[in-house]
């Protein structure tokens, strides 16, 4: 059992089913990447986790407590950064950070000031003058200054510049070292790839894939670029070979992981001069689910 357990979570808004039997577990000390296209249900899931909206069905437990009933108790140990940070235009960034820290309980002035400096934020400015990135910094400083056990971050870097993104990654790394857990919802797949121990992909309100990046890679294809002495033949007839492209000297293609062995045996017969292989990126993984989606749609239409 993880510190965050979601079982068969369903959320309906009137007739619209936003979440349909979502299962999700975040273990202690792990960074969990939560990815999916816009409108897939990431933010809705997070709002249920925070007890801001109520699950229609299913169990949602954090620290072994019910996310709806024991919301206040749970929130004492949670830090949250929303995707759209709307702040009060006539309060300053510093005031908002203090308010947030205070409302969670506890106050760590040193950490706060250090983070303000790290994120290069001017806390004396009114929130109305902040850009999207700066508003996000306010929420991030407040979150990382607090001494939480679980950090729930909903697309926290969408407005940050690359430099600040690195600071953010450092912060996540730091809380991970302290054995804290992080639920990171993101669009930036390279970031998820870099930071996350396990990943869940949500689409249309359903969790379609969960596991470590390695586990998920088994489900996908490896890129190969091969140059052989003799021209390679019969490759297209092998099962598990995709996206075959003939280059000047070489062939580029993708192979389903479970067919890798047969394909390699076949290639070696032609005398390998050069072999480059690249692991599938998260983007491939992600795109594959998109493509599947399109195929389904196309199939349905015809």
């Amino acid at each position: 059992m993880g510190i965050l357990n979601v079982t068969d979570l369903t959320k309906q808004f009137g007739k619209f089913t936003a979440l349909d039997g979502v299962d999700l577990t975040v273990n202690e000390g792990e960074v969990f990447g939560f990815i999916g296209p816009n409108g897939a249900g990431k933010s809705t899931t997070i709002r249920v986790l925070l007890g801001i909206i109520k699950a229609t069905a299913g169990q949602v437990e954090i620290f072994g407590k019910d996310a709806w009933k024991d919301a206040v108790e749970i929130h004492k140990r949670i830090a949250y950064v929303p995707g759209d940070v709307n702040l009060w235009p006539n309060l300053t960034g510093g005031e908002v950070i203090d308010l947030f820290l205070r409302l969670r309980g506890g106050n760590n002035k040193n950490k706060r000031d250090e983070l303000i400096e790290m994120f290069d934020l001017d806390p004396s400015k009114k929130c109305r003058t902040y850009s999207k990135g700066n508003r996000q910094k306010v929420a991030l400083v407040a979150a990382f200054s607090s001494d939480a056990d679980l950090y729930i971050l909903d697309e926290p870097t969408s407005g940050l510049d690359p430099l600040m993104e690195q600071v953010f990654q450092k912060c996540v790394g730091r809380v991970k070292e302290e054995g804290k857990s992080v639920l990171l919802s993101s669009h930036i797949l390279s970031e998820v790839e870099k930071l996350c121990d396990r990943i869940g992909i949500i689409r249309q309100g359903k969790m379609i894939e969960t596991g470590t990046l390695n586990e998920l890679r088994h489900l996908t294809r490896t890129h190969l670029l091969v140059e052989t002495k003799q021209p390679m033949k019969g490759l297209e007839e092998l099962s598990g070979v995709h996206a075959l492209v003939e280059m000047e000297q070489a062939l580029s293609f993708q192979v389903d992981t479970e067919h890798l062995d047969e394909v390699m045996k076949h290639i070696s017969k032609f005398g390998v001069l050069k072999l480059e292989s690249a692991p599938p990126t998260l983007e491939d993984l992600f795109m594959r689910h998109y493509e599947n989606n399109d195929n389904i749609k196309a199939g349905g239409a015809s």
Partner: protein, 532 residues
């Protein structure tokens, strides 16, 4: 050079006009409607010169002069009456209209980054300011013509064409002056909130300077553009040159604004923006402190407003007896109890109006929570260790205290002013108890809001309809002879009419109980529903 500064002004003009195609007509409609409906009402309420002279007597006191300025009290015709009681206050509203309309399209657009987009196109540096100013000036000219010809078209004998046109021109002129003021502040300040703040502050200062001047030293009134309004003596000597003065001052203001606009950077201002606090004060570290801070300015404004309303009602108490004598319409509106003076009978009605007005700020205080929810800012609090009950409770406590303060301030103002003008003044307690007895009804209204926020958040604006209903039914109930149950649909209809009636504890206790039940149900609902 000139050409390039104003390039595409015409295009922007149409663009701004299109954005405001509903807002501007609404302002024009509202202001014209009030301007035209009042003289008609005066004609019905004071049909004879004798009654109007009585009214003139009532107006003849410093408090009224401070409020509406000097009037032609010796010849208090319908025209003089309208110019005296309405012109200044309407002009203030017109000034407000100009401030709000112009700020949106100058500093407002700039602050939101929309001006940057516009300026990246082949558009002159001054084009946006010019277009925005022309739209607002045009609106004011239109208003001047509509009200001017409209007043004449009413066909009231004492409202001739020249006076009516001057009436309109003064309204428009005031609007244009404050458009100039706003244009200037839009260059000076970096954000639209302070542009509106500074401009309205100047409007209020102009009003106060005139008030002090009109009461004590006439020369002082000349320093305030609002002081010029009464000097125009509309429907009497008709001093047109004051309109010329207004236009002249406006031109100077617009020129300065244009000059500053040319020499400054986009999105920069001339007034230094003060850095705010780097850390939160102790007050701001609780939901209730945050809620208080968010509505501080509004609350102070309402408190001042209610005190002034109390004072202005109180200041007429001295002349009420003569005023009511012989005016059948007004007598009908009173409680009519033998053994009590007219003034005493007038008190419950006054208190009802004051109580309903004083209910508006506490309701706004609770409703603020819903506004915060719509802007997704409640999430910040609920995702911390803050329970929903604590959050809603914070807003409720503020509203409950807010209500007492509002009601008390109005009562104190009324009592103080009444004591100053009456020969045989009321005791403080008799006035205060007549006001505070409405508090349970106010609590029921607050209860209704809490109930709506908890259970039917989408329908929360119903409360305003309920308030307007209460006001009309109870204020005009006596006049139209509504059946009794119509009034009993409002909590205000159950309140014993002190000091004319005896105190009744039963209905008051039942109201309290109703309020508590509504609040409890509201809290239960709020704890159960989705946020946002």
């Amino acid at each position: 050079m000139e050409r390039s500064l104003s390039k595409n002004t015409g295009f922007l003009l149409r663009f701004i006009g299109r954005q405001d195609r509903i807002r501007i007509p609404l302002w024009l409609l509202g202001i014209s409607f009030f301007t035209l409906v009042v003289p008609v009402a005066f004609k019905d309420m004071y049909p004879t010169q004798q009654e109007r002279d009585v009214m003139a007597k009532t107006m003849e006191n410093p408090a009224m002069t401070a409020m509406v300025g000097n009037g032609n009290l010796d010849h208090y015709t319908i025209g003089a009456m309208t110019a005296h009681q309405m012109l200044l206050l309407t002009a203030v509203v017109v000034g407000l209209m100009s401030i709000l309309l112009l700020t949106r399209h100058t500093r407002g657009d700039e602050e939101e980054g929309r001006s940057e987009l516009i300026h990246s196109l082949p558009v002159g540096r001054l084009a946006n300011l010019m277009a925005a100013c022309i739209v607002v000036i045009g609106t004011n000219v239109l208003l001047a013509l509509i009200t001017g010809f409209g007043l004449y078209a009413l066909g009231i004998k004492t409202m001739n064409l020249e006076g009516s046109l001057l009436y309109g021109a003064i309204l428009g002129g005031t609007g244009i002056i404050f458009a100039g003021v706003t244009a200037l502040f839009s260059q000076l300040s970096e954000n639209s909130r302070s542009v509106i703040g500074y401009s309205i502050a100047l409007l209020i200062i102009a009003y106060l300077v005139r008030a002090v001047g009109d009461v004590s030293n006439k020369a002082l009134s000349w320093f305030s553009p609002l002081g010029w309004i009464t000097q125009a003596e509309v429907y009497a000597t008709n001093n047109w040159w004051l309109v010329i003065l207004m236009v002249g001052v406006s031109i100077v203001l617009f020129l300065i604004a244009a000059f500053l606009n040319i020499i400054r950077d986009l999105e920069a201002g001339f007034l230094p923006s003060r850095p705010g606090k780097e850390t939160a004060s102790l007050v701001l570290q609780h939901p209730i402190g945050l809620a208080l801070k968010l509505q501080r300015t509004g609350t102070i404004a309402w408190a001042l407003g209610l005190f002034v309303i109390g004072v202005s009602y109180g200041s007429v108490l001295g002349d009420l007896e003569t005023f009511f004598e012989g005016n059948e319409m007004l007598e009908n509106m009173l409680v009519d109890k033998a053994g009590y003076s007219m003034t005493e009978q007038f008190i419950p009605m006054l208190m009802m109006v004051i109580a309903i007005l004083a209910t508006v700020p506490p309701i706004m205080a609770v409703n603020k929570l819903l506004g915060e929810e719509k802007k997704n800012r409640v999430d910040h609090l609920l995702s911390k260790a803050v329970s929903r009950s604590r959050l809603l409770g914070s807003y409720l406590i503020i509203a409950i205290i807010n209500g007492v303060i509002m009601l008390s301030l109005a009562a104190v103002g009324l009592w103080a002013a009444g004591t100053a003008v009456m020969d045989d003044a009321f005791s403080f307690w008799s006035i205060y108890s007549a006001a505070i007895v409405y508090y349970p009804a106010m609590l029921v209204m607050i209860g209704v809001v809490v109930f709506l926020i908890g259970v039917l958040p989408k329908l929360a604006s119903i409360i305003w309809i309920y308030i307007v209903y209460s006001f009309f039914v109870l204020y005009l109930g006596g006049l139209f002879d509504f059946p009794e149950w119509v009034g009993k649909l409002s909590p205000f209809g159950y309140i014993p009419q002190l000091p004319v009636e005896e105190m009744e504890w039963l209905p008051v206790s039942l109201l309290l109980l109703t309020a508590i039940i509504l609040m409890v149900v509201g809290f239960i609902g709020y704890n159960k529903r989705d946020i946002g």
